[in-house]
Symmetry: C2
Subunit: 241 residues, 2 copies
Amino acid sequence: MNGVIHGVGLGPGDPDLMSVRADRLVRGSKHIAFFRKLGRKGRARSIVNGMLREDVIEFAMEYPVTTEIPLSDPRYNEALSGFYEDCKTHLCALSATGEDVVVLCEGDPFFYGSFMHLFTRLQATCDVQVVPAITGMSAAWNASGVPITWGDDILSTVMGTLDEATLTDAMTRADALVVMKIGRNLPKVRRALANAGKSDRAVLVEYASMEGQTVRPLSEFTSETLPYFSIILVHGQGRRP
Amino acid sequence: MNGVIHGVGLGPGDPDLMSVRADRLVRGSKHIAFFRKLGRKGRARSIVNGMLREDVIEFAMEYPVTTEIPLSDPRYNEALSGFYEDCKTHLCALSATGEDVVVLCEGDPFFYGSFMHLFTRLQATCDVQVVPAITGMSAAWNASGVPITWGDDILSTVMGTLDEATLTDAMTRADALVVMKIGRNLPKVRRALANAGKSDRAVLVEYASMEGQTVRPLSEFTSETLPYFSIILVHGQGRRP
């Protein structure tokens, strides 16, 4: 019997916000695997600190490249594609020996997650099961203390990596807005928010549900770049009795 | 000392997908409150079957109206507004006696939730704390077995209650799409999906993460109406290495 590969969503960062199922799988698993940037401890791995079995066997999957090569460069896709293939081979081999493996995933595995690239490769040959999780954006609007959507509000989730015109258009049309993957795209995101007439309502949430969580109007934040775990929200203003 | 009113997101329906924090609060609470349709057991209440303290005191908040009066009728808003005020008064009185209360919320409390209408009224006078949760849409894309968003995909979440032109426009522009609040709006939602050229990719998920979960192409479903817990997805097709 082959083992099961579990893609387990850990949620936004606070271990208390993991699902009961995720908590049980993480604590019980002999084999865990997780992505990390070369030379780092790994964010997913950090979330489960103190939760793992004493005899746990860890498999760190280290990205060969993150932001060193632009996305548009064909070498980026080549490097990543080879990397995911290697990870797949390792995990399938483990599974073939009958061992279950828990792959630790930040946020929800099927929502802009790295695990998806592994999932599509594993699916054909292995038994893969995915545990959904609380998204980073849910933690962000929770941290903001204000509901994100009301009545018939349209919520759009956009990535700061999009071009300014596309961002402006999407921001203009959305009633409620979530912006992710901001980082060095912050100046462009600011311009698009201004073009869309939504700068005044934009709220910046950093490290939602984690140590160091901050919430403030974007207008009060003056730096040109943001840490990875930052989300900008514009709350909907729809119907409410 | 006043008690705390906890707005606790229960997630999509499977108790195993509740957060560790929600699970602890639900099991430990002497007072629980929940919304339900008059004469029904209540969906949120059903999720926690078998989890409650033996001495639990339950407060059922019964909507005076759901779909009997159209949203556009001023009597709808009046009835709902009075109802939320009454619920607030009851919960604040409980809190004033020093008792904590757990308000059971389906899905994520700040994402199109009824609790938000209570929250805005409680906030001024009570200590309210909200626990985020896995959304119904996360459970739906998890059930579909296909990741919802890739790379720079724009995800739009739209309500079937919107008019056809607005739906068509939002559906045309989104890379990935979630449609909620469908019910009797299904024929209109179908037309909008067709107008947007996305009918072929639309997937219908009923009762995600719950008993009776089904996943099928929308084109294979021929009825004119859908049960409450139904979500239509159009998966993104963005960049992937």
